[in-house]
């Protein structure tokens, strides 16, 4: 299945000065012209092959059925929106999540309170659908973009709209949201187009880095060129404000990454 192709102009990020939409591009972010793939001649063969496959061979949908794939595709578009990317440069997050679930790959643990990952995905969809029906009398997919975003924000905030109490008793809501968002983030930021967007140097063997201090760029990296952007508040709430972040930091959940 292709990455989302249900774009609409109202969902584009805007220039906060003019409130006009910023056009979708092949390469959002503050590092115009930076291409990690352009450096692949300096990578080792094994790494080149792994990254090539990621870019060129989108795995087929095998875990989700058609309806589930449509549903989860929309959820992913809220959790990690890509409307600022043109259609040819969207990262097929859902296909990579589907591949993980289909192959039964796990991160090496499961919280006792959580069902197996694949079951959690299906239970989560059921909960979202029940919440949509209860609060809007419509299917989740029939809601407006803002309504969908509001519903998902209520899960993110662990203050769910009514309708799925029984499911959230069986499955801790914060762990469910973290599971899906972490998967989205892993699939998106594994892609070289995302590396170009954030200015990450990418694979660096055998050449390595030579300029380590003061954030200096290697000769083949590019300087940062920032621009202002925001999103339309009547369409999106999935853009935490300073007060949201401060409130979150009062009681942050434990992280799950490996850094040291």
């Amino acid at each position: 299945m292709a990455p989302n192709d249900n774009s609409s102009r109202e969902r584009l990020p805007i220039d906060p000065a003019t409130m006009r939409p910023l056009p979708a591009t092949a390469h959002p972010g503050y590092y115009p012209g930076f291409s990690t793939l352009g450096q692949q001649d300096f990578w080792d063969a094994a790494t080149r092959e792994v990254v090539r496959q990621r870019v060129e061979e989108t795995p087929p949908i095998r875990f989700f059925n058609d309806e589930e794939a449509r549903f989860m595709g929309i959820v992913c578009d809220h959790l990690l929106p890509q409307d600022d990317r043109d259609l040819a440069h969207r990262i097929p997050i859902l296909s990579f999540i589907d591949e993980r679930l289909f192959l039964g790959k796990t991160p090496g643990y499961r919280f006792e309170s959580m069902p197996p990952d694949g079951d959690a995905y299906r239970l989560g969809m059921q909960a979202i659908e029940q919440m949509a029906q209860r609060n809007f009398d419509r299917n989740f997919l029939a809601l407006t973009w803002r309504e969908q975003d509001d519903l998902l924000k209520s899960i993110h905030d662990a203050k769910p709209l009514p309708g799925a109490e029984e499911i959230w008793e069986r499955m801790p809501i914060q762990r469910y949201f973290a599971l899906v968002l972490q998967d989205c983030a892993e699939m998106y930021y594994a892609h070289p187009w995302a590396w170009d967007e954030i200015g990450f140097g990418g694979p660096a063997y055998p050449r390595g880095y030579m300029r380590l201090e003061r954030g200096e760029a290697e000769p083949w990296e590019v300087a940062e060129r920032r621009y202002e952007w925001s999103v339309r508040p009547d369409v999106w709430v999935s853009d935490p404000k300073e007060e949201d972040i401060a409130a979150h930091q009062e009681h942050p959940p434990a992280g799950q990454g490996g850094t040291h």
Binding site: T106, F111, P203, E213, V231, I245, Q249, Q256, G258
Partner: protein
Amino acid sequence: MQRLDVSSMQRYSPNDEIDYLVVGVGAAGGVILQRLARAGFRVAGLEAGPFWDTERDWVSDEKGSHQLYWEDMRITSGSHPLTFGANNSGKGVGGGSVHWAAFTPRFHPSDFEIYTRDGVGVDWPMSYWDLKPYYELLELEMPVAGPAWYPWGHPHGYAYGPHPMGGVGNALIKGCTSLGIGVSIGGPVAILSGSRNDRPHCIYRGFCIQGCKVGAKASTLITHVPDALHNGAEVRDRSMAHRVHLGKNNRVTGVSYFDRERNEHFQKAKAVIISGYAIETPRLLLNSGLANSSGTVGRYLMAQAGNVVLGRFDELVRQYKAPPAHALTEEFYETDPTRDFARGFAIQTVGPLPISFAKQMMAARGEWGWGMRRAMMDYNHWASLGVLGEILPWADNRVTLSDERDQFGIPIPHIHFDLYDNDKKLIEFAKNKTEEIMRAAGANEIAQEARFAHLVGAARMGSDPGTSVVDKFGRTHDIANLFVCDGSILPTQGSANPGLTIQALAARTADYLISQGTSVFHSDQRDLTDPPVRRELSPPGTHGKGVPRLA
């Protein structure tokens, strides 16, 4: 690049009664195999994961490196459930030493007697001075790069020069220095700052925990396993041990394991050494029903507080460059009577790559949607410092067996982990101190991710067979020819990354076994005399090298 030729490796048949069978060829298993082989014993290691061809199998890529981690299912629970996989568990020859960040501080002398000093935890059945010669040996065998003068604990220096600084180290130095806090730069890390023998120096690409394709970072795959094979050891890879067998006279006879096709085999051995680390070692003992007369197998599991404090700077940092581990302070390591908790913590550089950083932004700031995209576009402006704090050993933090089974039909482990009052106070203080340093470095926004790092304990050593699993040489109190050699024997954990201590203990256990000759194979006598230090067992070209020459 160093290549390992396994075609001429010794291969024993399951009916050969070898001397020592080591289960798990990781940080500890690699060292003890090498020592025992060099001393002339007939030894083999069973390793659940593969023998790596690092050039072919490893990639310079975050998502592509999951094969290095132990990702078989584990169930986790408690008030602060631990996470596993990439966080702390390795699979394949070299084990966790393949994907560690390679910080190698020693434990402090105080770590061996925290009950005597502070009335918390438990004392070790040995002192710092018993382990010191092995710290010195392993620091040369890996080898460790670091400053010529390291002021904390028992002050010492490193034989190989420190590494240049990355952006995160600069932040730590700046923050610490402006607050009058001492800081160690460029190490101690087990990463080559200059080429040595057939190993090249670091190229500062930042993918340490994805496995060092360069060969600059020490793992037993390149530091000890080659010498083990050269001296006649066998490493049988993709071999998942599931039961240690008890024979006549309360002595173990060998180990059952599944090969890569899931066929079951039994390898005979005169003695068995379990080196499976803090989850798989108690799991194997529990699944075998052995060595648990004290009821402590699986108990006193520890992880260190590993909170990450993230700071955003106006200027660029580019924290993906340089080894994540390259500077630290142990200024807050010891118990301070003016604080309301016992023991302390270290603060160290970390260098999350984009996927890890995105997960941190989620946990620390609640970022999602466009907020996540926005936060990630600032990736290059953030620096990350990791707390490494001592959490005390608690009986109910433990590994048990669950009702679920893995792909081989073996019961999978269940891990329960809670924090207690001293732990919580320590974490709160450490987090605040690290934030203070980050602000002093010039960060204008701070975020903090609560998490845990490393695993030790769950088969602890002690003098009392009623409250511990093994004696000070790793021999199980219950069975005279069954040993544990890995991080699971640690009674307490200090605030130092455990890798160096795990390997130093393995070298000491090896010296003990060698000093016992063949008596381990037939006698139940338990000789607790300390063995002589055998420096001649170091891999060739390591002992006495480096400038300045130490030890």
